[in-house]
């Protein structure tokens, strides 16, 4: 369960990395992002990525780091596919993903 949360978090983090880049942001939202916004995405992405690593490693040091590598690969592959072929789907994901992440985390803690 924690690994599922970490996977979703990793994906969200890489989504933020992608949206911090002007061409991808434009492909998704249609407008150019302000510089400050890109910076904020970048910071959020790094925080989430580190948090993913922390969650994975807190489960098991070695196994967790292997999971972390795999999660990153999966996230980048999915994002690259989405951005190349269906960038507008990212708009829904942009809201759905954090919501799903929040719900799963809350239900797991509760």
């Amino acid at each position: 369960m924690m690994y599922l949360i970490a996977t979703l978090l990793c994906f969200t983090s890489f989504m933020a990395f992608a949206l911090a880049k002007t061409p991808h942001y434009k492909a998704v939202f249609g407008t150019r992002p302000e510089h400050a916004l890109s910076q904020r995405y970048l910071v959020a992405a790094w925080i989430m990525l580190l948090l993913t690593l922390v969650i994975d490693v807190s489960q098991a040091v070695g196994y967790g780091s292997l999971m972390f590598c795999g999660q990153m690969a999966l996230s980048v592959l999915l994002l690259a596919t989405l951005l190349s072929f269906r960038p507008n789907w990212m708009r829904s994901l942009f809201y759905l993903l954090p919501a799903a992440l929040f719900l799963i985390t809350v239900s797991h803690v509760a």
Binding site: L66, C69, G70, A73, L77, L79
Partner: protein
């Protein structure tokens, strides 16, 4: 020497990559399949499909049964071997090795039993997933040591290519998510970059740890210096469980195996057992070796407990508490083989392995495409370019086709044929040879397209062939919850879809577009 660091790295990446790309493609492809070694083996032995994989009996009960059976069946054997069922293998295996007749070599007599009902199961003779596992580092039709040296050299060059690749494709992290489809060689470069960067930690890890698995072949000098008998002596100390006791020629009438087992279960109640081996079970020198299952710990060697058969006392243990060096070595091998992985991580390993295949394949293709683009249409095509193009086609499209042929052979060669396991392998290599001959003649887009269609057809009908020749099918696998088998069929269908898409892409433009070769388990 080239005039700048960047250019020399480009030169290095291009030529090192080209020199070994086909071999690396084979190694990566077979290695990726090997993550599912057990599942492929299960698929290739349909006789095992009928048995429920959830074992109810306790390990102790299964062991007692095994001992009883061996006691009546082969009390005077040289060795006994009881393998317990695990998550990935549902069978209980009870085997013994008779003492050899003078001048002959004894061979194991195996009994595979359904764990709960103890019904004997005779699976067909097939190498299954182990074929790909061996192919991955022993290659085939050649001496093992030579093959391992070649594979070592190839991995060393892979490491060089990876590092120089990061240097020359500086923008890979900047354009991490970029894939521009339908732009000729630009798309190929994007695909090459994407597949390498998305699994870069994996690629580095797998290549480096791959070298480590063969480190005592590559670099035996420390062991040779420290131990008088060299690597052999070192192994003797590192693996005490691999030593066989000398016969004492004093008969052992009442062995203490049960007491030893009780001792083990009392002191290590949480430790699951993977197998038990007993050397000379009817001799006073008898030794019982209990191998613990590793679960998901990052270690390679299984912990072993050695008990005396005569007195029942614990003689020695191995790999129970490892030194830091042993832990590092074992950890790296465990990371490489991925045996520790639960299904989730195993799929991630598989995905990363596919990314590696895509990286190598796109690299090979790009080399040839770049050279073609630079040539004037009137210029005669050099032999080197022809060779590279043919080898690309033969390797990249031939290997998946040969794999499909291997699986067909598994289902279609009669079960009663003696030596059918080797016949399956022969079919694999003959198919590959045929593809190579085809590629030597037609190495243009039309050739690629034909082979893509043949591949698509082969993988599409594989689940059908399976359904016709066995009692199960994709539908029954899903309804019975046999997920390993269901995924095998699904992956075959997925591969067919990818190859079909590839043939469409090749048809829509005369120039081969980005052609991804996804692989199946």
């Amino acid at each position: 020497m080239k005039d700048s660091f960047f250019r020399s790295m480009t030169w290095l990446h291009t030529w090192v990559g080209l020199l070994f790309c086909w071999l690396l493609w084979l190694v990566f492809f077979a290695g990726t399949l090997s993550f599912f070694r057990q599942e492929i083996t299960l698929w290739s032995k349909p006789e095992l499909h009928l048995h429920n994989s959830e074992v109810q009996s306790s390990q102790q009960a299964l062991l007692n049964y095994g001992f009883e059976r061996l006691n009546t069946e082969a009390p005077d054997a040289a060795r006994w071997w009881i393998s317990l069922p695990s998550e990935r293998n549902a069978l209980l295996r009870v085997s013994h090795l008779p003492y050899p007749e003078p001048g002959e070599k004894a061979s194991w007599i195996n009994h595979n039993l359904a764990a709960d009902s103890k019904v004997p199961v005779t699976p067909r003779e097939s190498k299954g997933g182990s074929f790909f596992y061996r192919l991955h580092f022993d290659l085939h039709y050649m001496d093992r040591t030579t093959a391992r040296w070649i594979v070592c050299l190839a991995s060393l060059f892979m490491l060089v290519a990876l590092i120089s690749g990061v240097v020359i494709h500086k923008r890979i992290f900047k354009d991490m998510f970029q894939f521009r489809a339908g732009k000729g060689s630009r798309s190929w470069l994007d695909g090459h970059n994407l597949s390498s960067v998305l699994a870069l930690p994996f690629h580095l890890m797998i290549t480096y740890t791959g070298l480590i698995t063969l480190i005592f072949t590559l670099f035996p000098y420390p062991a040779q210096t420290v131990y008088e008998g060299g690597v052999k002596e070192f192994r003797k100390e590192f693996y005490p469980e691999r030593q066989r006791p000398e016969l004492s020629h004093q008969p052992l009438t009442s062995p203490a195996f049960t007491q030893s087992l009780d001792h083990f279960f009392t002191n290590w109640p949480e430790q699951p057992i993977s197998r038990i081996i007993i050397d000379h079970p009817r001799d006073a020198a008898a030794v019982m070796k209990i191998y613990g299952a590793n679960r998901s710990e990052i270690k390679d060697e299984q912990a072993v407990w050695l008990y005396s058969g005569k007195t029942g006392e614990l003689l020695n243990t191995a790999h129970l508490e490892n030194s830091a060096a042993a832990q590092l070595y074992g950890g790296m091998i465990a990371m490489h083989t991925g045996r520790l992985a639960s299904p989730g991580l195993r799929w991630l390993y598989f995905l990363c392995g596919l990314a590696g295949c895509a990286m190598i394949a796109s690299g090979c293709v790009m080399w040839a495409k770049r050279l073609r683009e630079r040539q004037k249409p009137t210029q005669p095509v050099s032999f080197g370019l022809k060779l590279v193009e043919s080898l690309n086609l033969a390797a990249i499209m031939g290997l998946p086709l040969a794999t499909a042929a291997f699986f067909y052979a598994n289902r279609l060669i009669p079960v009663t044929n003696s030596g059918r396991a080797d016949q399956e392998v022969l079919v694999f290599f003959l198919t590959w040879l045929a593809t190579t001959l085809f590629a030597a003649k037609w190495r243009n887009t039309q050739g690629w397209r034909t082979l893509a269609l043949v591949n698509a057809l082969a993988w599409l009908t594989l689940p059908l062939c399976n359904a016709l020749t066995t009692q199960g099918s994709l539908i029954s696998y899903v309804s019975n919850g046999q997920w390993a088998l269901a995924m095998f069929d699904t992956m075959a269908l997925l591969a067919a879809a990818v190859f079909f898409w590839q043939s469409k892409q090749l048809q829509s433009t005369q120039q081969p577009q980005r052609v991804r070769r996804e692989r199946t388990a």
